[in-house]
């Protein structure tokens, strides 16, 4: 009798579990509160974090980054560097677009050609000379010169439905055209291969997604069937929305709320070291002393990176002494922050600036985490080596025009490498300025060290990746000695989700959660 009872209980339990499971498989709605809405549905109209996040929802890239910066096959299953300037990619078969069209090599060719037309991507895709469809599921990419970062670029290739985006709209404009801030076909209509289809969108208010029934990745554990995305820009409101159960998942948890979220019941916080370097640029054009490497070193030594990361950022940042975060090819583990106030004062004296001087500093106040406070802290630290700082902070919309004039003496900048690679930092932030090639476009201080430039340039045509990484590590070490950029930290990323929404496996340092693979178990 006892055994019978047990059996019965077991049977009931199994039946219940079974029915629960099937319920789970039926409908799981994920309500997201992101800090920003994506600007447009046209992937090539704007290169922004928001649009790329959207790309990973409605589209699939050829390859994507894993958590530890390896390449994971998506729509490309295999790749082979056939010689110095050619790469052959094998594409996945049996993939369909949301429109029902089949995915083939032509879509990849079409997409890369469109990327080369896009104002935002043109520069990044410059190294690619041409793309050809060898057969339905093979493409060959030809580069102008040996180029080691083709796979990095492939993470930006989200094949678009070429048939869907070809032809003319009712009012006679080309469906494929890329119009910035305009009303183009592609900015309002989507057909990708991704796990989610857009069902409704009210820009800036909410976006509804539904899982794509014919999604190719049937091995994905993801069980989210619907997504409601509400952009909530205000930090306090976003956190409140999660804590009150109004949304299940938020990004950009502000440092001041970390403890609150960590301690709250029914909510999990996930922190990931990010890849955006925050730092300062010293203007050598307006301040003569900054041309002296000893003064630059003194500035670097006077700043307590660890203190800022610990206190001001409440541990929500990783102190930095180089551009490349861990995981990047050029990350040099030997370079660590070297705060040493006494040495800094000595260097100032050696350079003949014991009395110090006074400078202007500009910083944004709504772009990076705690940006204005960081600038204030750095200003105070510099006063200890007698550099008197007159700090001005301003909202982002006014900061960039001000930054572009290069009138101030010290400027704050955060930079994320679009290629997730070390060379990009150097090319934009520390290369000698060359208007024609666009090198050093964000080199605020006109810093110039031709030796470093030559090394990085050589690395960029080195297809032996081991050798290349070595050269980049060397470049980091040289920049560290020469203080071409005053490093502060890499800003961490903070995500939080309700219990049962298992975001840990799908979020990454690149800040694009792979929501197609998200599992919800309530």
């Amino acid at each position: 009798m006892n055994v019978k009872k047990k059996l019965l209980t077991c049977a009931i339990a199994t039946a219940m579990a079974g029915s629960l499971l099937s319920l789970n498989a039926q409908a799981e709605t994920l309500r997201i509160g992101y800090s920003a809405d994506f600007e447009t549905l046209d992937l090539h109209e704007q290169l922004s974090g928001g649009v790329l996040r959207f790309s990973h929802m409605a589209f699939d890239p050829l390859v994507r980054w894993t958590k530890d910066f390896q390449f994971e096959p998506r729509l490309a299953t295999e790749w082979e560097q056939t010689d110095d300037t050619h790469m052959r990619l094998t594409l996945r078969e049996g993939v369909t677009f949301h429109s029902g069209n089949a995915f083939t090599a032509n879509d990849v060719v079409w997409t890369i050609e469109r990327l080369k037309e896009s104002p935002d991507y043109r520069a990044i895709f410059e190294p690619i000379a041409s793309v050809e469809a060898v057969d339905d599921y093979t493409v060959e990419i030809t580069t102008t010169e040996p180029y080691p970062l083709l796979l990095n670029l492939a993470t930006y290739v989200f094949p678009m439905d070429s048939a869907f985006y070809s032809g003319e709209t009712d009012d006679g404009s080309d469906k494929a055209e890329i119009v910035k801030a305009g009303n183009s076909f592609a900015s309002r209509n989507v057909s990708g291969t991704g796990p989610f289809m857009v069902t409704e969108r009210r820009q800036g208010v909410r976006v509804d997604f539904e899982r794509f029934d014919d999604y190719w990745d049937t091995e994905s554990p993801g069980n989210v069937t619907n997504i409601v995305l509400t952009p909530i820009a205000e930090n306090a409101s976003r956190v409140a929305a999660l804590l009150s159960g109004g949304v299940d998942f938020i990004d950009a948890v502000p440092p001041n709320d970390l403890d609150r979220v960590r301690d709250a019941n029914g909510v999990d916080l996930i922190e990931i070291p990010g890849t955006r370097i925050i730092g300062f640029q010293l203007n050598e054009e307006t301040v003569e002393p900054f041309q002296d490497v000893r003064v630059r070193q003194a500035v670097d030594l006077a700043i307590n990176q660890e203190g800022i990361a610990d206190r001001l950022m409440r541990g929500f940042a990783t102190p930095a002494a180089q551009f490349s975060p861990e995981g990047y090819s050029g990350h040099n583990p030997d370079l660590t922050p070297r705060y040493d106030l006494e040495r800094a004062q000595e260097l100032m004296a050696e350079a003949g600036y014991e009395e110090g001087f006074s400078v202007d500093m500009i910083a944004p106040n709504n772009r990076y985490v705690n940006d204005a406070q960081i600038a204030q802290a750095v200003a105070n630290m510099l006063s200890r080596i007698n550099i008197q700082v007159n700090l001005r902070t301003m909202p982002l919309a006014q900061y960039w025009p001000e930054y572009d004039t290069r009138q101030s003496d010290i400027a704050m900048l955060g930079w994320h490498s679009d290629t997730e690679d070390t060379a990009n930092f150097f090319q934009y932030l520390s290369f000698c300025i060359d208007e024609e090639s666009g090198a050093g476009q964000y080199n605020y201080g006109s810093y110039c060290n031709e030796e470093i430039d030559a090394l990085v340039t050589a690395a960029d045509s080195q297809t032996d990746l081991e050798r290349r990484a070595e050269m980049l590590r060397e470049a980091e070490a040289m920049l560290y000695e020469d203080v071409g950029f005053v490093m502060l930290h890499w800003q961490n990323l903070g995500y939080a989700a309700a219990d049962g929404v298992d975001i840990e496996p799908v979020v990454n340092a690149i800040d694009f959660p792979y929501l197609g693979d998200l599992v919800i178990e309530r």
Partner: protein, 349 residues
């Protein structure tokens, strides 16, 4: 009457003209919209081309001339972010704001009149003193804080453990002071009922009303104390006047004296102030809407400023200008109806 309206119409045109010139004049200080529209690594040449296409390189007068010409034909330009005509974007966000203002106004009217009248009639009663005290606090707390506190208490919930849990009264106090928090903390909800055009209403469903409650209370919290105090002061003054004394001497019931004779005259200045304040309230929604992520004009305007979405900013300012002119006109008309001794401009004396 007609002459009055025509005069007001001319006012409106003048106001819009001045606002548009001012808005255009400051646009250079609003930031660079192009920076927001391109990725960080986009070369300067691409930016210059975009700037040229948007006509941002033209001299001020040329830009303004182009804007004015189009605006006269009802075209206020395209919002950079929404990729739609600016007026259309505002029309889509307007109903949310108007419903919020309406709900807040309703709260203010329903609460301020009885409380104000009561504390005028019985100025020394403890309840009056309590309301006066609360209204001082209410007037001095910024709406942002009110909103955050409301969210914490009613949306997230608070768990009080101040009193000893093992003693029965302690446990009871803890339980009484703790809140569950189940009110929605953001947005308009998903249960909107479509009325007409761009107007989806919150007022026709239970879920919609629940979403409206907290934002409406925080918006009302700014004006409510002001109106309670205004009504109280006016009422007390009216109570001293000769005609009220006479009415009382005649033996009319006190209720009639208060609510028919005295209240009518109390409301005159209240209507004037109220009309102006409704306009101000539209402006205050910026804060409330930001905290509650209420998808109305205020939130839209703040976003537009952050994005340097100039066409939308200029259009918003002009629309708000018109709202002010219209509410003032309506107030003046109502005032004329309520108090026949007031003469509208243009009416023969």
């Amino acid at each position: 009457m007609i002459a009055f309206l025509i005069k007001r119409l001319m006012h409106a045109v003048l106001v819009m003209f001045v606002i548009s010139v001012l808005a255009f004049a400051i646009q250079d200080n609003l930031g660079d919209p192009v920076q927001q529209m391109v990725g960080q690594s986009v070369p300067e040449s691409e930016r210059a081309a975009l700037r040229e296409r948007l006509g941002l390189n033209d001299p001020f007068l040329v830009q303004y001339g182009r804007f004015a010409k189009n605006a006269l034909q009802g075209d206020f330009g395209y919002s950079y972010f929404y990729r739609e005509p600016a007026l259309e974007v505002i029309a889509r966000h307007l109903p949310a704001t108007l419903e919020l203002v309406f709900a807040a106004t309703l709260l203010i009217v329903l609460l301020s009149v009885p409380i104000g009248v009561y504390s005028a009639i019985k100025p020394r009663s403890p309840i009056s003193r309590f309301f006066m005290g609360v209204s001082i606090i209410g007037i001095s707390i910024p709406v942002f804080l009110t909103a955050i506190v409301l969210i914490q208490i009613f949306a997230i919930g608070i768990n009080v453990t101040l009193f000893p849990q093992d003693i029965s009264w302690g446990a009871w106090l803890n339980a009484t002071l703790s809140t569950q928090g189940s009110m929605p903390s953001f947005g308009r909800g998903h249960d909107l009922v479509h009325v007409v055009g761009h107007w989806d209403t919150n007022l026709a469903s239970w879920d919609g009303i629940r979403h409206l409650v907290l934002p409406a209370i925080s918006l009302a919290s700014i004006m409510l104390p002001l109106f309670i105090r205004l009504i109280r002061a006016e009422m007390m003054e009216v109570m001293q006047s000769e005609y009220v004394k006479y009415a009382r001497a005649k033996g009319i019931s006190m209720r009639r004296v208060y609510f028919v004779h005295a209240l009518k005259n109390t409301m005159l200045p209240v209507i004037t102030v109220g009309g102006v304040q409704i306009g101000t309230m539209v402006a205050y929604t910026i804060l409330t809407e930001t905290v509650f992520q209420w998808p109305g004009m205020g939130l839209m305007f703040l976003d537009a400023i952050n994005r340097a979405d100039i066409p939308l900013i200029v259009t918003y300012l002009m629309v708000v200008g018109v709202i002010f002119v219209v509410t003032n006109t309506v107030v003046d008309l109502i005032y004329g109806l309520v108090n026949p001794t007031v003469k509208l401009t243009g009416k023969p004396a």
